[in-house]
Symmetry: C2
Subunit: 131 residues, 2 copies
DNA sequence: CTTTGTGCAAACGGTTTGCAACCTA
DNA sequence: TAGGTTGCAAACCGTTTGCACAAAG
């Protein structure tokens, strides 16, 4: 008896490529809806559901980062470890690229009760423009 | 001409008190819905909307903490600075009380582009029971 | 040719809101 | 008694899902 193990292969589609390219081209943290309307300019037939499905799988694969702010997901094409700064006034999200913060937090989080795999550090405050 | 400045006064209601007491009595991080059904045992007529409104104002006043995990808010009666650990498997939330993590993060976050007021540090990993 | 991904539209689920009645201060 | 608060039900809105068709490998 021959047993074949088939692994669920992931396909590369035009939609997924366009979404990724858009996220790479941009220097802020768009919502799914914003990604949808931008990619729609190139791919008029694309649906919101497809955008969501791709964003989900891309995040699962670790190709993009998913940030949750105010009941809404935002997406980041930059997967290097960094922290986010949310402005209380305008809602804008900027970044801090500190290896120290992540490392220090992780080191101090290790206990016998919990095994940390990753940290998310989000600062709330006021951005330069709103100050 | 006499000008009177009326400040919007906040009232203390039975509902608000019960919600606060429940949050203080509990050592986990309930959802609005869980708070609702618990408080409902004492106050059968209370509505979910009231729970949400009170949780919102309590969080605004700084009397409780609001944590956002998986598109859902969770509430914490403990307002001392601490970090949260979310288990990837069971979804349970535990805590770490490290003054160091918050302090170190804040110190490293200060730039000319952003003025941090608070940090939220969330670890994702595996809890003791799921290990 | 098989199997994963897509578009559409309807469903979902946590949260918010409008409004009249109610209750604090 | 004034105006903040409540209960109810309906609206909201970002996200997910079922299904038949399209397209990638």
């Amino acid at each position: 008896m021959i047993m074949t193990i088939t692994m669920p292969s992931i396909r590369i589609t035009t939609q997924k490529i366009k979404i990724l390219e858009y996220l790479w081209s941009v220097n802020h943290h768009p919502t799914a809806d914003e990604i949808y309307s931008e990619v729609k300019k190139d791919l008029p037939a694309i649906s919101l559901a497809t955008v969501y499905r791709n964003l989900h799988s891309l995040a699962e694969e670790g190709d993009i980062q998913k940030i949750e702010v105010n009941k809404e997901f935002r997406f980041d094409g930059d997967i290097s470890p960094h922290q986010h700064c949310v402005c209380k006034k305008c809602g804008n999200i900027s970044e801090i690229f500190s290896k120290d913060i992540a490392r220090h937090s992780m080191q101090n989080a290790e206990t016998e009760d919990f095994e940390p795999h990753s940290v998310k550090t989000i600062f709330h405050g006021i951005c330069r423009e709103c100050k």
